[in-house]
């Protein structure tokens, strides 16, 4: 009996341990994302200055290293750039732009891709082949390159970045939604709804759509991270956001010019923050994938 109880307690411990372990990465991911959300909402009230208010900038304080280094001041924890702008304050404001672009582009892609996928899957025929051929061709091109090319045609701007990201982001949703719509449309309840004369629009919205959304959650989560990275790449190349609305990627670009003089903090810290937020998002995405698709575990 002792052996049984010890094996039972060991099993309880291992299940507990397993759950804890599996959740701990999800918890870490949620904490990181929540901290970023807090930072971009209340951050502007906490940081020393508004980096875009020229009146608040002290040129005397330019190129100050982080507070813990020689010559650093506790006023600027992560140092300052060439205009005396607080690096931390720039990061707080830059994170807002980066996250906004990531989220908005994801929502736009999801909306566009889901709509096209529903139409392609539900109506089939020429519309279907047209949409899917475009998707195929686009998939044969790396998204960064397509976005870079589009931005080179559009010029800089937050709205233009959004359009470029949505143009490359919709494909993945369209493919998934089309696949599940095809499966769903075969099912009896949809057939019954069709026979009963319900208009197609209502069938799609009421019956098909709710049943094809689950697999999109994982894709959407991870895409926010991907978009933040692509936006950073575009802005770094100078074809993303304008200098009046600097995202984290543009902050890195600005710091790159002075990196060789040893002024590393101006570009290194924004990059660390990009890595942190995307890492948090990816942790959440991994967790969601395991939960929503047990087969992939």
């Amino acid at each position: 009996m002792n052996a049984v109880s010890s094996s039972v307690s060991r099993f309880a411990a291992s299940e507990f341990f397993h759950n804890f372990r599996r959740n701990s990465s999800a918890i870490l991911g949620s904490v990181i994302v929540a901290m970023f959300m807090a930072m971009i909402t209340i951050g502007p009230w906490l940081v020393a200055q508004d980096p875009y208010d020229v009146a608040q900038l002290e040129l005397m304080d330019s190129f100050k290293p982080p507070a813990w280094l020689d010559g650093g001041s506790s006023q600027y924890v992560l140092g300052t750039d060439g205009q005396g702008r607080d690096v931390l304050a720039s990061i707080v404001y830059g994170s807002r732009i980066s996250l906004f672009i990531g989220l908005a582009a994801m929502l736009g892609s999801c909306l566009l891709g889901t709509t096209l996928g529903l139409l392609a899957g539900f109506y089939g025929g020429r519309l279907d082949s047209l949409i899917m051929r475009i998707a195929d061709i686009q998939l044969s091109f790396p998204s960064v390159l397509t976005a870079l090319f589009l931005m080179s045609a559009f010029g800089t701007g937050v709205d233009k970045v959004l359009i470029a990201l949505i143009s490359v982001g919709w494909v993945v949703y369209a493919r998934i939604v089309r696949g599940s719509t095809l499966r769903e449309a075969q099912k009896e309840y949809v057939q019954a709804a069709r026979v009963s004369g319900l208009p197609n629009r209502k069938i799609i919205l009421r019956h098909v759509l709710p049943n094809v959304l689950t697999p999109l959650i994982v894709v959407a989560t991870i895409q926010v991270g991907t978009f933040i990275l692509i936006e950073a790449s575009l802005s770094f190349l100078g074809v993303g956001v304008p200098i009046t609305e600097p995202s984290l990627g543009l902050l890195i670009k600005n710091g790159f010019d002075v990196l060789f003089s040893g002024l590393w903090w101006i570009s290194v810290f924004p990059g660390l923050f990009i890595m942190l937020i995307v890492f948090g998002i990816n942790l959440l995405g991994d967790f969601l994938r395991d939960e929503l698709n047990p087969r992939l575990k």
Binding site: V4, S7, V8, R10, F11, S14, E15, H18
Partner: protein, 339 residues
């Protein structure tokens, strides 16, 4: 199904030195739903050249006996206790490197599904030859000659050309012949066949059973035939061990056990075999199904499905008792043996 009759006189249960001797084997699986006692205290012996049938319903843990002998139990499974003495050596004391010298070379194994047992990316020649590379020092030309000979032995025509073919170019029955060839080519003393014909057409089943029987007879190897098919066992095996929920419920010489089963579970299994001479009668089925092996009832595990169950059966677990020479059953109220 016409198989050669069982060889008389090979059922030497009292042989001085058995080839394989399993004692108190317990193989448990620690899953999150509870501990599954797939094998729960199993004893049996196997004489050289003997064919033993391990019989039970699906999910009865009988395959796990085969994998335990091979040392192929993976987490969450574990061999908790017992002894597996093979040619005088306890396999459970061997480390992984030691077990590798046993697997394939001294004990061969045939898997249930020939469609998945072969690696799809290598020719069958390569997979057959791998055994000789691993377990013999034969030079390349001799290995190839041996592979061709082996394929011919298991009834594959044009073996020279077939060596260069991939598994998907073979039918299920032919693949299982290849699997048998792989299991036998290194000259093992013991062959473990885990439901070797279940996945195949009925028409091919008898052919393959006959092939296996011929193979072990030619090489004087022993065979453990793990199956739910008592009809196949009755024509192949010298002795039979019947398992239920990880435990032995009955064992004995084949003909004796078929004629006069003592355990009600064995009786039920026998009744569910279609017979030519009583084809008009309705087939019997054991009522109910195998209980949740994580929560076995106290007493006899078969009691809930047993027509003869008494209150005693639900309280006290019966022990395996010999009541006729060589035949033993774990039942409080055994059927009368017809000797």
């Amino acid at each position: 199904m016409t198989l050669p009759p069982s060889r008389p006189g090979t059922a030497r249960t009292d042989a001085p030195s058995p080839l394989l001797s399993v004692r108190g084997l317990k193989t448990h699986f620690h899953t999150f739903g509870g501990v599954v006692k797939a094998v729960d205290g199993v004893d049996f012996d196997l004489a050289p050249g003997e064919i033993l049938g391990l019989v039970g319903e699906s999910g009865g843990g009988k395959s796990m006996i085969g994998f335990s002998i091979m040392g192929l139990i993976d987490a969450p499974g574990r061999i908790e206790a017992g002894e597996i003495r093979f040619e005088g050596q306890d396999l459970l004391t061997l480390d992984e490197a030691g077990m590798r010298k046993v697997r394939g070379k001294r004990i061969g194994m045939i898997f249930q599904d020939p469609m998945t047992a072969l690696n799809p990316l290598y020719t069958i020649g390569n997979q057959l030859e791998e055994m000789l590379r691993l377990h013999t020092g034969l030079p390349a030309a001799a290995r190839r000659a041996r592979c061709i000979e082996m394929l011919r032995d298991v009834g594959i025509s044009q073996p020279e050309e077939r060596l260069g073919n991939y598994p998907h170019q073979f039918s299920g029955g032919m693949r299982q012949r290849v699997v048998i060839a792989i299991a036998m080519i290194a000259g093992p003393r013991l062959l473990i066949a885990d439901e070797p014909t279940t996945a195949l057409d009925v028409t091919i089943q008898a052919q393959l059973l006959r092939l296996m029987k011929r193979q072990v007879e030619q090489t004087r190897a022993s065979l453990i035939l793990i199956t739910h098919d008592l009809a196949a066992v009755s024509q192949m095996a010298d002795r039979v061990v019947v398992l239920y929920c990880g435990r032995i419920v009955e064992r004995g010489p084949t003909s004796q056990l078929i004629r006069g089963p003592a355990h009600h579970y064995t009786r039920g299994l026998l009744d569910s075999i279609p017979h030519e001479d009583r084809s008009q009668r309705r087939l019997h089925q054991i009522p109910g199904s195998v209980p949740n092996i994580r929560k076995l009832p106290p007493g006899c595990a078969f009691a809930p499905r047993c027509r003869a169950a008494q209150p005693l059966c639900r309280e006290v677990e019966p022990v395996l008792t010999e009541f006729a020479p060589g035949q033993a059953a774990a039942c409080h109220f055994p059927l009368e043996a017809k000797l």
